[in-house]
């Protein structure tokens, strides 16, 4: 190696090192994330027997999907869930963050308590809430009765079951997003609040004039993340699997759960893949639109 060629070989070595360093992750992600994404499309053109037989059927799965009322209703349920979950979670965690923002004695402990549900698995969460919400004799219904209200079958009545799942999911996720909001709030320089105070703004006004606009990037991030969670996260699936299995009367059958059932309980692998492909595509569009409207917000890093 002569000194004249050094710069070139230095760059070559750096390039080689770079590739080697990223290789394990890139290969792993390709095999376990990207390849399945591509394979999903391929499988969706086949009828799969569940016993190892594949039959090419073109777009038949997609045609079935258009006329499948259960798919349509599961999309509707997912939509309803998302529309209830995202704004509620957003509001609750922002309120919590504002509540615990100020330094007080023991505030660290209080924040941790709000966060605690999030570290427990959703299987445990599902079991515990099922216990609390038992018809007639469960703790929730008993407390309601003691307050003079009448109990309900929260997980057994199609009118309330989805609502119950939303409340439980919000309870589970609120600590996480509280921390994210808290971080956003602490990024706002206190000088802005001082200025607002000098202008004679009360708390309410200073929230709308200072906090809200400056919190925008964080808010957008939370919106995008919670939407992704509502539609595609394994967490919501876990909760529904443990608590309701999609019932009562399909009222909690979100699309992910339906896909899982078709694939792993009824062995309609091809059909499930077609549904997954449609949902992925829809999700991409939703994300694209959200990012477009919000001009990327902070999410672009």
């Amino acid at each position: 190696m002569t000194s004249g060629r050094r710069p070139l070989s230095q760059r070559g070595r750096e390039t080689l090192a770079g590739y080697l360093f990223v290789a394990p992750s890139v290969i792993g992600m390709f095999v376990f994330l990207v390849l399945p994404m591509i394979a999903s499309l391929t499988i969706s053109f086949f009828r799969v027997s569940g016993f190892g037989d594949y039959e090419f059927i073109g777009l038949d799965n997609y045609r079935t999907l258009l006329s499948d009322p259960v798919f349509a209703s599961s999309l509707k349920t997912t939509g309803l869930f998302t529309l209830a979950f995202v704004p509620t979670l957003f509001t609750v965690s922002l309120c919590l963050a504002l509540l615990v923002k100020k330094q007080r004695r023991g505030i660290g402990l209080l924040r941790s308590l709000f966060f605690a549900p999030n570290v427990v698995s959703l299987v445990v969460v599902g079991l515990v809430w099922q216990f609390l919400l038992t018809d007639h004799v469960g703790a929730v219904n008993r407390s309601l009765e003691r307050m003079g209200l009448s109990g309900e079958s929260w997980l057994g009545n199609p009118r309330y079951a989805l609502f119950a799942v939303v409340v439980i999911s919000v309870w589970f996720f609120m600590g996480y997003y509280m921390i994210i909001f808290l971080n956003g709030l602490q990024d706002i320089p206190s000088a802005y609040y001082e200025a607002a105070r000098l202008d004679g703004a009360g708390r309410w006004r200073s929230f709308w004039n200072v906090t809200w606009p400056l919190l925008r990037p964080t808010s957008l991030f939370v919106l995008v993340m919670t939407t992704l969670t509502a539609i595609g996260a394994a967490g919501i699936f876990d909760l529904i699997y443990v608590m309701t299995k999609g019932g009562p009367d399909y009222s909690t059958q979100v699309v992910m759960f339906y896909i899982y059932q078709r694939a792993f309980q009824l062995n309609d692998f091809g059909y499930a893949a077609a549904m997954a492909a449609v949902v992925s595509f829809a999700l991409m569009i939703i994300m694209f639109v959200m990012l477009r409207i919000t001009k990327g917000g902070k999410v672009d890093a």
Partner: protein
């Protein structure tokens, strides 16, 4: 979780500080009430499970004795621990390598690779379950520890954080090592890794908890009773011991306790990770 960001500002409050503190504390207690109730029921006798008392009238350890003797919960815990530990170590290793290269090495296609990695954040497990199952089948790792471990290792999350973190290092960090004639591997191993200890600890807690709590994937691929992780175990348990809530809650407590302990020990690092995930 001490707040290190800024000194507190004084704000005139109409409510007394004690009243405000009291209401926050009340809300916080309400939030953890279901978990407290879980623990409390785990110590109750079968006949008392529906009593509203938070402190069991006649506490008993029988429920724990029962689940430890009647179901292989220690085996479940061991499986979960093994999978979570291996996932954590492998993830930290691979993610920090990739993060380091993407942040501090210059090579062609780097930015494309990073965008690609970043885009995979959109892919969620339920969406790719069907084909992932086939991939795992082709690799012959269904119904095995490896099958639970490998798909959990590769995600953009850690790479993303570590890259951000390494970008914030001053330019001359590697300089001394480079002058000593160290190669990239030694720089990574001897300079970068030791410097990333705080973030690695935080991510480790995060990965460990995430894997410990995962359910859907192991549920789908594991049939061998000896490999069942604790979340799947207690979900099956629900079917086996049905409405014996005292047992169910004891098993839930056992499954949740490690995560709660880990959280309260590492809460600072844990929340740091989340804060960073808020995008910067």
């Amino acid at each position: 979780m001490p707040d290190t960001a800024r000194p507190p500002r004084r704000q005139p409050s109409r409510l007394g500080p004690t009243a405000v503190w009291g209401s926050i504390a009340f809300l916080a207690l309400l939030t953890v009430a279901p978990l407290l109730y879980m623990v409390s029921t785990a110590f109750k006798q079968a006949k008392d499970v529906y009593t509203p008392d938070l402190i069991p009238g006649s506490p008993t350890l029988d429920n724990f004795r029962y689940i430890f003797s009647e179901i292989p919960i220690l085996r479940y815990l061991f499986n979960s621990f093994l999978v979570a530990a291996v996932v954590t170590v492998l993830s930290l290793f691979f993610h920090s390598m990739a993060g380091y290269a993407l942040a501090r090495l210059k090579f062609r296609g780097r930015d494309t690779i990073f965008s690609g990695i970043y885009a995979t954040l959109l892919i969620s497990l339920p969406l790719i379950m069907v084909p992932l199952f086939l991939v795992a089948k082709t690799l012959g790792i269904l119904d095995s520890y490896l099958g639970m471990i490998l798909p959990a290792v590769f995600n953009a999350f850690g790479i993303f954080f570590l890259r951000q973190f390494y970008l914030s290092f001053p330019d001359d960090v590697e300089e001394a090592a480079r002058l000593d004639g160290c190669g990239y591997w030694r720089i990574y191993w001897q300079v970068i890794l030791p410097m990333s200890r705080p973030l690695l600890t935080a991510l480790a807690v995060f990965f460990f908890l995430g894997t410990w709590n995962s359910f859907l994937w192991p549920l789908t691929i594991v049939q061998n009773p000896d490999l069942i992780p604790v979340q799947v175990g207690i979900s099956n348990f629900q079917g086996q011991f049905s409405a014996a809530w005292n047992y169910s809650m004891a098993a839930s407590t056992v499954a949740a306790l490690p995560t709660l302990i880990l959280f309260f020990v590492f809460q600072k690092q844990f929340t740091e990770t989340i804060k960073t995930s808020g995008g910067r």
